[in-house]
């Protein structure tokens, strides 16, 4: 079999049927642009959700003057509560560091409280597993001796986490629908392209060309059209996201919503787009050519 011949035929086919090629590639392009938007959106949403979930931490203040032994014992007890991933002890000093850091440059003025005058308390930082019931864990910790207060951000944190999750799930559903739509739209376009060439296929058969011989160049054409259609979406993904990321300073609204870094994500998304374009072009042309290659004798 002469692969070089078929590949060459595929290229010639795209060029000589330029109007059809362009219209098919445009269909691919439009769907891939939408696909790219949704991919970037869901990837960022999942990143943001993860950030929010990871930043959920129960802050437990310890009564002033509690002995080191009690502190260690309580730490062990908290670690045993179901849903608790990690308990870290943070003494007054460390707490002040955190406090100052939270205020950025302006925090420096709180340095005056370092040492004996430190009004803060020793504390535990409790990390929990994903979807852990924050309120129940907090209540259990509160029951322990020598606990001054427990803070987990309250219901707002819980609501944020669940909101993020539903947005993400919604996005996932949208993307799945879009994928179906894309495959339908593109294979339909390719079907029309090939249908317009059913005469050509028929002539080839009359001359004694095997199905395989007819099909191969069409598959190459499908791949090429898919790739042609993916050029613009890929450029849009790489440069568009770069622009958006830089314009927003890498965050959405507040520091809680940190966007995914540009690299390597844009390349991964581009890879997905190109792969999808090839796959859809290939299957689209395969299905449509095969339709004209049945023997009904």
């Amino acid at each position: 079999m002469n692969i070089t011949r078929h590949v060459k035929e595929g290229f010639i086919g795209v060029l000589r049927h330029s109007a059809m090629s362009v219209s098919a590639a445009t269909a691919v392009m439009i769907t891939l642009v939408l696909m790219s938007l949704f991919l970037l959106l869901t990837l960022n949403l999942s990143q943001i959700t993860k950030n929010v979930e990871e930043s959920v931490q129960i802050h437990v203040k310890i009564v002033d003057g509690t002995s080191m032994e009690t502190i260690d014992a309580m730490k062990a007890e908290i670690a045993l509560i179901p849903g608790v991933k990690l308990v870290t002890f943070s003494d007054k000093n460390a707490e002040l560091d955190r406090f100052i850091a939270a205020f950025g440059e302006d925090g420096k003025i709180f340095e005056m409280y370092r040492g004996e005058d430190n009004p803060l308390r020793d504390a535990y930082l409790v990390d929990v597993v994903k979807n852990a019931p924050l309120d129940i864990i907090a209540a259990k910790i509160k029951l322990l001796d020598a606990i001054e207060g427990v803070n987990y951000g309250g219901d707002n944190t819980l609501r944020l986490v669940s909101l993020m999750e539903s947005i993400q799930n919604g996005g996932l559903i949208l993307v799945s629908i879009l994928w179906l739509l894309a495959i339908f739209l593109i294979s339909n376009t390719i079907k029309i392209t090939i249908y317009s060439r059913s005469e050509e296929i028929h002539i080839m058969r009359t001359l004694g060309a095997t199905n395989h011989f007819i099909r191969f160049p069409f598959l190459i054409e499908g791949i090429l059209i898919g790739l042609m259609g993916s050029i613009l979406p890929i450029l849009l993904t790489i440069f568009g996201y770069q622009y958006l990321y830089n314009a927003l300073g890498g965050v959405l609204v507040s520091n809680l919503f940190i966007l995914r870094p540009i690299y390597p994500m844009v390349f991964q998304v581009s890879g997905i787009l190109a792969g999808l374009a090839v796959l859809v072009g290939l299957t689209g042309s395969f299905i449509s050519v095969t339709r004209h290659l049945r023997w009904n004798r």
Binding site: R205, F213, R297
Partner: protein, 227 residues
């Protein structure tokens, strides 16, 4: 060489196209098949082309029994015969050269040999100077000559022509017949030409088989006008 034995063809919709056809055509013959519309000429071609299968009887071409031909083997069989149609059936997006080359590509002819054969048949049909043109820029007669060149590129034993002059004026038609005669003479190809162009049949006398309503009405070895 080309043998129809008690061949009948009934289409799925109940139309009877051919009844009990017995026909023997020897290698190297040039035969006209004539008859009015609906006489079964097209069905005859479809049987030869393996597009349709005989309902009864056997069709044998160059030693191949078409009734027993598996779909998978049809392409292989089709390469061993050449078919020329009234509507030329050229590949619109390929040049004249590429159209002829295609027939050689499907038989896996080595590239250099194939290109040489294309030039050979194109000069045989007198189209060497049109090699790089597309079919749409050629006249009907030139397009038909391209189709003939393509059909004979693989040196088939049998060349089946379906109304090859149907779309051409008398002068061009005579050119085509003369070309077919040349192929018949020089390449020893059996030629089966289906036509209803009575004037051609009368001018270039050959064995003539007349079909009517699916029956062979006459088989005149000297040819000539049939009433």
């Amino acid at each position: 060489m080309l043998k129809f034995k008690e061949v009948s063809k009934t289409y799925k919709n109940g139309v009877n196209a051919l009844y009990n056809i017995n026909l023997l055509i020897e290698q190297g013959e040039f035969v006209y098949i004539i008859g009015p519309t609906g006489s079964g000429k097209s069905t005859l071609i479809k049987l030869l082309d393996a597009e349709e299968k005989a309902t009864k009887g056997s069709v044998e071409v160059a030693g191949v029994d078409l009734a027993k031909l598996k779909p998978r083997k049809i392409p292989l069989y089709r390469r061993s015969i050449g078919v020329v149609f009234q509507d030329f059936r050229l590949l619109e997006h390929k040049t004249i050269f590429e159209n002829v080359l295609f027939a050689l590509e499907i038989t896996n002819t080595p590239v250099l040999k194939a290109r040489q054969r294309v030039r050979e048949v194109l000069s045989l049909v007198d189209l060497a100077d049109k090699a790089n043109d597309f079919p749409s820029s050629l006249s009907g007669g030139q397009q038909q000559r391209t189709a003939i060149a393509r059909a004979i590129a693989n040196r088939p034993k049998v060349l089946v022509c379906e109304e090859p002059t149907g779309n051409l004026d008398p002068a061009k038609s005579a050119d085509i017949i003369r070309l077919l005669e040349k192929i018949n003479r020089e390449e020893g190809t059996t030629i089966l030409m289906v036509t209803h162009d009575i004037s051609m049949v009368n001018s270039f006398r050959k064995r003539t088989i007349a079909l009517q309503d699916g029956h062979i009405m006459a088989d005149l070895h000297d040819g000539g006008y049939i009433e």
